[in-house]
Amino acid sequence: MELLKKYPKLFQWLFLLAVFFALCFAIDVPETYKFIRGQAEFVKDPNQSAFVFLGKEVRYYAFDVFWRLPPLLGWLPIWINDSLFFLMNDWMPMEFWNEDTQEYKTRPLVLQITRNLTAFMTFLIELIREILLGGLETIVAFTSWDWIDANPWAELPGLPWTIVAAGSAILAYKLGGKGLALYALLSMTYISIFGQWKPSMQTLSFILVAAPLSFIFGLGLGVAAYKSKRVEKALYPILLVMQTMPQYAVLVPALVLFGVGDHAAVIITMIVAVPPMILLTLLGLRAVPPEVIEAGRMSGCSNWQLMSKVLIPTARRDILIGVNQVIMVCFSMAVISAFIGAKGLGFNLLLALNQLNIGLALEAGLCISLIAILLDKMSLAWANKQVDYFGNLNFFQRNKNSLFFGVIVIVGILLAYFGSIYFKDGYNYLFEVPHNKGISTADFWNKGVDWIFDTFFVYIKAFNTWLIVDVLQPMRALYLRMPAVATLVLVVGAGYLIGGVRSALVVCGLTLFIALSPWWDRALVTTYMATFGVLVSCTIGFTVGTLCFQNKHSTNFMLNVCDIFQTFPSFVYLIPVMMLFGITDTSVLIAVIVYATIPATRYTIEGLRSVPAGLHDAATMSGVTKFQRLFKIEFPLAFPHMMLGLNQTIVFALFMVIIGAFIGTEDLGQYILKALSDKKGAGIGLTLGICVAFIGLIFDNLIRTWVGQRKKHLGID
């Protein structure tokens, strides 16, 4: 009794666990239950029950509802699909002028809008692509092919690679100094010499369109949300879901709306990249000190002046961090959107992975990582750069970078011209190194992979078998053995114990959505893989973080490593694991672990670092040993922040598990991938994506609520 009074929470938790296990043992596995169940709406079986909702028949196995809830939401994907098709094909037909046929044509409104949108995006991408690589489409768009024939001088080539490389180096120098400039020059030269110039520039042009557009929309919506509570409330749930939504899932509906190609990829990238931009804009604007706003008001600013001259410049740093986020998302999407036909490095990477040509994949992955790191560092340098005063410099000093670039352009053109004379018969290497004429290391890597396989095959195989047979399969079986009702009780109970009725209701709603969808079993598999990944990642991350924290240099080193790893587009992680473990669950899980260890480590270090220095001194003066300090002071205080790290780890892990479908898994991700090639996949893909997002949100809600309370309790913010 006394114990019970002392630790009431502990006993509540124990009671919850007891109920959970009691339910697990009390509810038997029904005989009709098979794991690989057909999806409710596609398989017909006389044992199935059926119901009709919104004109759609949903079929399901009417076994014990305590074991698996019936898929009452089975109609949702079909309904989404039909609505989407209706919108695209039958809703609001209107007369539109057709430029090509010179006559009016009847077309549904939405179709016309999306077509115009795609045309606009295509134009922008082509414009940049033609500057970098040459081409005529844009000029033709303003004139005509006849005009080009009459004026052959308009057939301008793209910029020689020397100019682009030197130009990026100058920009890097201006933003981040000599080191960054050297990095820019080397990586651009590498890309050129190794024959990846064309796909790299295609990817770059895609990013140069997607990133600025995402920035503009994100900033605009962020400002709107800052100004109006109503807009913020409307945006909030979307922002929340988009944070945990796997980027795959957005591909499918976009495919229906915008078709296949670079333009669709840009639009999807915007959908994914705008939410973090909105969040960071909002964060930055909120952080502007109230007195600065009042000072602006008292200076007589109108609302517009206040926003453009006071608020946004003061929040500059946060907004530029948002730009950095946008760029990172764009790179990630540059690979993923290759699934819907975006050209560039991502496409080459996917192709190579598909053919199991690890060497080629590695080259493409390396190039995309190099560009990603370059743009990441450049945007961060821009964010951290203080404005300088130029008033007292003369014209040459003020414009030295532009002038220097002008010189570079002339030199580059001359070089390219001499090149065209020197390499008279073959390719002009000073203009562009063609794809298959560069140095390729693919063979070397492929031989290396073969060698590793030949040499270590026995060990890798043994490890693989052990992991799958002794760890993964039992764990998966355990997860699948949970009756739906027991899971629901556990999750809702946890919600209640942590955050009260409100939290319990939110979590209950999220879980019910998944439980009532036709994919509960798949969701359990996703959860099991994510859990395994998170457990290992957290163990590694917390340990490594704590160890590194003991020394200032290793702390900084580790944070830098985290930075660089975070910059890699997520797909790149699949390359080395496929190299070592081939196409198995182990590969996916190792990619998950590597990817998810980054936030775990980073947040551990940041949490430990946030412990106030005064407390360190106080502890030292009380005569604590190193271990006492770590366990009595640093861990308790850093724990809330470390839990936020856990939250991020879960999001990262889920994300990678879904991407892992590319290698071949049996979870929700696999179904999303299937939906991509399904004509009626849009509704399914979207619903599946929401399911994954909700898994993330359940943990997100519980952890954030707990952290909030804990921080209040400790009086830290």
């Binding site: 007195e291 008292m298 007589g300 001259k309 005063y389």
Partner: protein, 343 residues
Amino acid sequence: MSEPVIKCQSVYKIFGANAESMLKEANGNVDAKTFQENGCIVGVNNASFEVSKGEMLVVMGLSGSGKSTLLRCISRLTDATGGKIFIEGQDLLNLNNKELIDLRRNKMGMVFQSFALLPHKTVLENIAFPLQIKGIKTEDSINKAMDMVKLVGLDGRENYFPRELSGGQQQRVGIARSLAVEPDIWFLDEPFSALDPLIRKEMQDEFLRLQEKLQKTIMFITHDFDEALKLADRIAIMKDGIIEQLDTPANIVLNPATEYVRKFTEEVPREKVLLIKDVMDEITSDNMGDIKVSKDEIIENVAEKILTQEKTVAVTDGKNNIVGSINPAKIINTVFGGRKNNH
């Protein structure tokens, strides 16, 4: 007397969802406790006062007393819940947005506790900011801003960024910015509270020098009673949103209206605050010596002169007419005696 520059009539500021309806129900009898039970917080409670041209009114109160809220009502950074505020006869609460912006662009200047400088602009650009907002040509605004830089003694640093300046220098920029549009009314919200004591004293002296030159109508907020005594023409002491006493420094020290005000005055060195005229007696027929003191002198400055006399000393006005007398005993009583009675 000409019309007061700032005039407040029963100004209320109450925070909370249904503040306005509750204020109406209370019918002028606002009790902070009942309001708090209903989820409202009373910021300013029935403030009525006037500030005339060229006068410096210091509002003194501890944190949470509503002094900053009062200032924000008068600058209309927040809207008062009830009452009327007149700025040079204009009804402030009835101005539309455009008129309000006009008023701020031409009549008002404000200095903030945390300086509130724009981090992305240089000293000169910060000071020119209100002028440029007004739409004045860049060259003219820069010239004007340069004058202001000289006025606050920052010449040579006009191209620095706020991050490169010390706290005192940053506040000089804040002061210069608030003065750039040559406002008639000057609001200062705890301008020196974030500064070190030595710098604070330096800035107070600087501020007095400026005011002597400019003769603005000033509302000055502080939580420091000594600062209030040093600067004010009149002091308003606030507690829980209510103005406890509004009077000249001497009267507050000599006749505190409430127990709360008395607590502040107890520790005040009276000889540094009171003038001769505040304590002098009627003209007496006692034989007065040859020494005369002016009625506008601070006691501290002439105490030695009076105390070395055995006799009553004559007090004169500016034209050297004898208007009163003071004897050494009175000085001793004022400096040492007054406080003893309170214990």
